[in-house]
């Protein structure tokens, strides 16, 4: 693995003020001095209990929230995201074919024939039959929907993908299929992932390196072997023993 970076976070701190329209409430820090890099071709896991700021971190990386301090540097164009809930990530008003073609229409560089070719190619890569193109998301199973979400996220050919709990709404058997698919697509499409999960088993199956997050801070980081075989932090040990 080379050391080329796809993403770099430096001292990112983010938070919000509570309160309402007229009065500012106390400042709540959600992320505290978060720094890490995502290297080209790696799957970086981000693990922590719910409410530790994992999703805020994802939103900050994608520019949906701007950090109060620090900087987020992207080395690739148009990073994409896969969401946890495959029910709300696909527009219910349209067919799968439309949903997959839409990112290409937005991109605006391909004609209709080229778009159709790319949609067909991506559908095959995520292992969905052609009939799916005419189906509405409501007619698909959870696993199929997540495959469609992955295809839609990848059709603009991003180099970096954030996956926020992409399998935690799925059955265990479907989970491992989707994980295998993500692993295969990394090779085929030369991708790098930031993979967010609260589930250590999933992280173990998929990731190369792991960040452990607690209360908005990264408390431990290392390769999967380091984290799972020789955890240093009590919090990491606690997470590991809870997962067994």
């Amino acid at each position: 693995m080379n050391e080329e970076l796809v993403l770099s976070l430096r001292h990112v701190t983010s938070g919000y003020h509570g309160g309402g329209l007229l009065r500012r409430g106390p400042y709540q820090e959600v992320l505290h001095d978060v720094s890490f890099d995502v290297r080209h071709g790696e799957i970086l896991g981000l693990v922590g209990e719910s409410g530790t700021g994992k999703s805020t971190l994802a939103r900050t990386i994608l520019g949906m929230v701007s950090p109060d301090c620090g900087e987020v540097v992207h080395f690739t164009k148009r990073p994409q995201m896969i969401f946890q809930d495959p029910y709300s990530s696909l527009n219910p008003a349209y067919t799968v074919g439309w949903i997959l073609e839409e990112p290409l229409r937005i991109y605006g560089k391909y004609g209709a024939a080229e778009r159709a070719r790319r949609v067909g190619d991506m559908l095959e890569r995520v292992g969905l039959p052609e009939e799916c193109l005419r189906a509405k998301p409501a007619e698909l199973s959870g696993g199929q929907r997540q495959r469609v979400s992955i295809a839609a996220a990848l059709i603009q050919r991003p180099r970096f993908l954030i996956a926020d709990e992409p399998v935690s709404a799925l059955d265990v058997t479907i989970q491992s299929q989707i994980l295998a698919l993500l692993k295969a697509l990394r090779q085929e499409l030369d991708l790098s992932y930031l993979f967010i999960s609260h589930d250590l088993n999933v992280i173990y199956q998929l990731c190369d390196r792991v960040l452990v997050m607690k209360s908005g801070r990264i408390v431990e980081r290392g390769t999967v072997e380091e984290i799972f075989e020789h955890p240093k932090e009590p919090y990491t040990r606690q997470l590991l023993s809870a997962a067994e």
Binding site: R78, S88, P92, A93
Partner: protein, 271 residues
């Protein structure tokens, strides 16, 4: 989506509305008698096969006049709803999507406007524009209908703002206009369509009230509301006049109301 119950409301509503629309369209090209012609029959003739709804004090055929009047009412109500829905949806979509201070301000203004009865507001607008013109009635009612549409669509758009497929569209680089129109609007139809039918009915009734109060359309235009006010003074001599025109209003509102109820039920999974 469950498809268990049959949606009788939608079917009957569609059927009746279609029937009414067909009659109204027919009235625009053909009526049994010339609606304006006097003495096509005797004065105050009761309903018969020759004069389905009888005749009025000038011997005009009331059925022909109702057909034509319903056309005028239909056009006014449709244009009103079109103005209200288009402007209201634009306001609602932008405020719902962006939120913030502009949203708060506009919505409080909206609250203030909704606190007044719509007829009263329309009266104010009419007095500014000048009465007696069909287009002024349309404009006045259309303006008055904007807030209710803005409210309904604002809620729908605000609820979709943070939905994942909208976030995805932003990440893909879709423009705000594209997100609002292509990605969000189709998913607000379940609230917009019933609102359209309710708005249409309110417009029919508002126009009828306005014409009844003599601030709506004036001759030679004749809407159902105008005819109803005419019928009132002739009630003892020709009760069928009021029954005919009133019945037409009721039937129109009832059909579209059923359609609206059916649309709402369809949204809950009844087909």
């Amino acid at each position: 989506m469950k498809k268990t119950q049959k949606n009788g409301y939608l079917r009957v509503g569609l059927l009746l509305t279609g029937l009414m629309a067909a009659l109204i369209l027919l009235g625009m090209v053909w009526t049994p008698y010339d609606p304006q012609a006097m003495s096509v029959g005797p004065k105050f003739a009761p309903p018969s096969l020759r004069f389905l709804m009888g005749t009025d004090n000038f011997g005009r055929d009331i059925f022909s006049r109702v057909l034509q009047g319903a056309g005028a009412t239909f056009v006014i109500a449709l244009s009103t709803v079109a103005i209200g829905a288009v402007c209201g949806t634009v306001v609602g979509a932008l405020t719902g999507y962006f939120g913030g201070a502009v949203d708060e301000t506009l919505m409080r203004l909206n609250d203030a406007l909704t606190a007044f009865p719509s007829i009263l507001l329309a009266l104010v607008v009419i007095s500014l524009l000048g009465p007696g013109n069909k287009y002024n009635v349309i404009l006045a009612l259309g303006l008055v209908f904007i807030p209710s549409f803005a409210r309904v669509t604002r809620t729908a758009f605000a609820s979709l703002r943070e939905v994942n497929y909208v976030k995805s569209a932003r990440l893909m680089g879709a423009s705000t206009a594209r997100i609002l129109l292509v990605h969000m609007l189709p998913n607000t139809l379940h609230v917009l369509l019933p609102a359209l039918t309710i708005g249409f009915n309110n417009a029919v009734l508002a126009e009828a009230s306005m014409s009844f109060l003599d601030i709506g359309v004036t001759p030679p235009d004749a809407s159902l509301g105008y005819m109803l006010s005419e019928a009132q003074s002739l009630f003892t001599a020709a009760p069928w006049y009021a029954v005919g025109t009133g019945g037409a209003i009721v039937l129109l509102v009832f059909s579209v109301g059923l359609l609206g109820e059916g649309l709402q039920r369809r949204d809950k999974g009844v087909v």
